[in-house]
């Protein structure tokens, strides 16, 4: 593999050390004390590969920064207290109403602080984008296999970040103590009460007594402003540190191997691209905050346990839990004078834990099934891991169906359907539709693999139709160029793990042979029907075949609208349609 086409720098002459300017003197002062140059020398020109899908995590990162900045501003005016006050601010429709200080201060921010409503809306929009971006980034990492060794820990950190982000969001939108979020807190209290044995104690400890009490908002404030941001910052720091240490993964292609990174240097290109993207994320959030009204708490009114609005939904990232709660049948068990509320406990506590565990454990499961202990820095195209891609498609289906179930009343109104029918449908759909999606997606990936192989062996379809003198129609195929051909073959072959049938000389099966047999069966199931890339022999065969075809088509190198070949025209020097 030759690298003589690679440039290490864009300059034409070597850089020279210059006499220190004033700025440089300051840097020297710092370096004398901190030794920064040693640290910086490796990082300044660090290479990052370039692809749009690598920027999805950045959306999350910059949204987090926006959250921090707007959040700090909001804390200057927000009062996290449930003390009762009489509202005397500018919003006429609530003047004189008794409400908590938290709600009153939110109204003040919205109506009496210039830029306050903009800050509130920016904060809320960027929270939504933060979690959405984390999810999309997670899906990209999953689909491309970027969670494989050595990045399993980063995957776990990422999953934890998503969980923390969701809790943080819930705490955040509950702070204004408005009707909609207060209803959400009521539901949270119900969820907590349904915990077996400890439920009522947990509920009383959380709320400082009976619901709603006057402790929950200040406590959520501490969680939202101090505890979880600290955890988020620490975990994001660890996430980034691992990324810098392992270097970013890259797509396979010409010049790219498992042992190098090809791309652009941090200074100046990635500082510019990442820094510029920060401003773009901030700017888009500001535009959304100014133009799109979100969480209009003044219309909901202050929280009152006897008031509610139709269409009570939590923010979108809680929609899954909401959907689960809505479609769950009303099952409760009464034994020995105690109640187990399956209808709340299962969807509210068990199901999210199960789903999260499945997601977090995937890298280890996959590694166990495939027996793959190699280090991977090259990404896989989703089609080349059909079972994994199909699994994600099925999970996304479950997610989407539960989302829809969480908004079943909105769906009923907008599409003129029966509310009950939607719920009944969803109860069955979340079990029936995902396996179907799984099967379809897997077949689709395999057929894409087949198409890739055909491209490699027979060339790409030119769209030029040839008609032979006997009257048969064929499509002209031309070979793909080397770069593209390499990209199509730059992947591993799947090896089925074969650990079954280990017996010793006396025919006694090995002690963990059952586990090994299960593993082998799973491994087979994972790779069954995957189409492997062609071997050298197959490729050479394909090329010979192509050469033969080219010979046959030699005399037919003409544009194929057909007229030229009716036997009455000269076919001398007819150019190929499309040109060279």
């Amino acid at each position: 593999m030759s690298f003589d086409k690679v440039a290490n720098t864009n300059a034409k002459t070597a850089a020279t050390a210059r006499k220190p300017s004033r700025g440089a003197a300051a840097v020297e002062w710092a370096d004398d004390r901190l030794g920064l140059a040693t640290l910086a020398k490796k990082q300044l020109r660090k290479v990052f590969p370039d692809h749009w899908s690598f920027m999805l995590g950045e959306i999350a990162l910059w949204s987090f920064v926006v959250l921090l900045v707007t959040g700090v501003f909001l804390t200057l005016w927000f009062k996290p207290s449930m003390a009762e006050v009489e509202y005397m601010g500018s919003y006429d429709q609530l003047r004189g109403i008794h409400m908590s200080e938290a709600y009153a201060s939110t109204l003040d921010i919205s109506f009496d602080v210039r830029g306050g409503l903009l800050l509130r809306q920016m904060h809320h929009w960027s929270a939504m984008l933060f979690i959405a971006a984390m999810l999309v980034h997670m899906m990209r990492v999953f689909l491309t296999g970027a969670f494989r060794k050595p990045r399993e820990l980063n995957w776990i950190i990422g999953g934890t970040l998503i969980l923390l982000g969701i809790v943080e969001g819930f705490a955040g939108y509950s702070l204004p103590d408005d009707l909609l979020s207060g209803t959400g807190l009521r539901i949270a209290d119900g969820l907590v009460k349904a915990t077996p044995v400890l439920g009522s104690y947990m509920s009383f400890f959380m709320f400082g007594g009976e619901f709603p009490g006057d402790d929950i908002i200040p406590r959520l404030y501490t969680v939202h402003v101090l505890l979880i941001p600290a955890l988020l910052l620490a975990l994001i720091g660890a996430h980034m540190l691992l990324l810098v240490y392992h270097k970013h993964t890259q797509w396979p292609g010409p010049g790219r191997t498992n042992d190098n990174v090809v791309g652009y240097p941090l200074l100046p290109v990635y500082m510019a691209k990442a820094g510029g993207f920060f401003f773009i994320v901030f700017g888009v959030t500001a535009l959304m905050g100014g133009l799109l009204s979100i969480n209009p708490v003044w219309k909901y009114g202050p929280y009152d346990p006897s008031k509610v609005t139709a269409g009570s939904q939590p923010d979108w990232y809680m929609g899954i839990a909401e959907g689960l709660l809505r479609i769950m049948p009303g099952w409760e068990t009464h034994i020995w004078g105690k109640t187990i509320s399956w209808n709340v406990f299962l969807p509210g506590q068990i199901a999210p834990i199960v789903l999260l565990t499945m997601v977090l454990a995937w890298p280890f499961l996959e590694a166990w099934v495939t027996g793959d202990k190699r280090v991977h820095h090259l990404l896989q195209r989703p089609r080349n891991a059909p079972t994994r891609t199909a699994f994600l498609a099925a999970m996304i289906t479950v997610y989407g169906l539960l989302w829809a179930a969480g908004g079943n009343d909105i769906l009923a109104v907008k599409f003129h359907q029966s509310l009950e029918m939607i719920s009944y449908f969803m109860r069955g759909a979340i079990f029936v539709i995902p396996p179907i999606v799984f099967v379809i997606t897997r077949r689709w990936c395999i057929s894409l693999q087949r198409h890739d192989n055909e491209t490699l062996l027979h060339g790409y379809e030119t769209g030029v139709i040839m008609r032979s003198p006997e009257g048969g129609y064929t499509e002209r195929h031309l070979p793909v160029n080397e770069e593209r051909a390499y990209k199509l073959t730059a992947r591993d072959r799947d090896e089925v793990y074969d650990g079954a049938g280990e017996t010793d000389a006396n025919g006694v099966a090995a002690p963990d042979s059952r586990v090994k047999r299960l593993r082998s069966r799973l491994s087979t199931a994972m790779f069954v029907n995957n189409v492997q890339k062609p071997t050298v022999e197959e490729l050479e065969d394909g090329h010979h075949h192509a050469e033969h075809e080219l010979e046959l088509e030699e005399g037919l190198d003409h544009s194929a609208d057909g007229h030229q070949f009716d036997g009455r025209h000269s076919i001398e020097g007819e150019p190929l349609r499309g040109g060279h």
Binding site: K12, W52, F54, M55, L56, E58, I59, D92, Q93, L94, R95, G96, I97, S110, L117, Q121, M128, L129, A132, A133, V136, L179, L180, K273, F277, I280, V284, T285, M288, G290, L291, L292, S293, I294, N295, P296, K299, Y300, G301, D304, K307, V308, T309, A310, G311, S312, Q313, P314, D315, W316, G407, N408, D409, I410, A412, V413, H416, S418, L419, M421
Partner: protein, 267 residues
């Protein structure tokens, strides 16, 4: 059932407080006019004398009896176009109004003549004439609290409407007129409960109407409201609008920029 309804109407007439300043038109010619219109447009489902029509097995109603529903119900149903209904169903949507207001008044007078029922409110019942600004503001505030206690559970926090069981829905209040809102509360159309004047007094009904008006006229403080149905549309915009735009930018940032096949000439 007819006896039961007549009893109810009688009880109502005996015990209910005066239902506002609306007068029942006793004009016999108006009633006759109304009967003529009724026979053409309403009797098919509601019976020749407004007694209601049952299906052949006697188990379901084609159209309920109109004895005791009152002029208010007629003015509401016909005035919002819900009646005449096009086909039987879970719920009758508001549609194009088929009758002129005169005709509606005549129909109302006829139905009111069948049995006593809630009357069409007079405009003074829900107007703010004679109220000081302070009183108006207090009325709006109180109306908001009453609305959020009694109405938003079905109609949503700003009257955008909501889902009810089995394909029915609580209508959007955005384009409803004040009189029709009053009448709906008074007459409890379809599956909507009744909010009689013993439940919500006429003043309280007026307060609710004032509140709805005030939030309709309020400026959009924070920008476009995206349908006024809360987090569902907000989430949709966050994904489609926000993430879509940002991912679009990401694609642009990492895309190959224009290339030329010319070679660089070192100056």
């Amino acid at each position: 059932m007819l006896i039961g309804l007549l009893l109810t109407g009688g009880l109502y007439a005996a015990f209910a407080p005066a239902s506002g300043a609306g007068e029942q038109q006793d004009d016999a010619s108006q009633v006759a006019e109304g009967r003529k219109l009724f026979l053409v447009g309403c009797a098919f489902c509601h019976g020749q004398n407004g007694e209601g029509v049952l299906t052949a097995d006697g188990k379901q109603q084609l159209g309920p009896t109109l004895a005791g529903v009152g002029a208010a119900a007629v003015d509401f149903q016909v005035g919002t176009g819900r009646m005449p209904a096009v086909q039987p169903g879970a719920q009758f949507p508001a549609k194009r109004v088929q009758y002129t207001q005169e005709e509606i008044d005549a129909l109302a007078a006829y139905v009111a003549s069948l049995a006593p029922g809630p009357a069409i409110p007079a405009e003074s019942d829900y107007s703010t004439d004679g109220m000081t600004d302070q009183e108006k503001e207090e009325a709006i505030v109180r109306g908001g609290q009453i609305f959020l206690t009694n109405c938003s559970a079905c109609h949503n926090f700003e009257g955008s409407g909501g889902a009810m069981p089995n394909g029915k829905m609580a209508a959007s209040l955005r384009n409803a007129s004040e009189r029709h809102i009053y009448e709906a509360m008074l007459s409890g159309p379809g599956e909507m409960d009744v909010f009689s004047n013993g439940n919500l007094t006429p003043d309280e009904k007026r307060d609710v109407i004032l509140y709805l008006q005030s939030i309709k006229e309020a400026p959009k403080y924070g920008g476009f409201s995206m349908g006024g149905i809360g987090p569902v549309s907000e989430g949709m915009f966050a994904w489609l609008g926000g993430m879509g735009v940002l991912v679009g930018f990401a694609v642009w940032i990492a895309a190959h920029t224009t290339r030329t096949s010319k070679e660089k000439v070192d100056a």
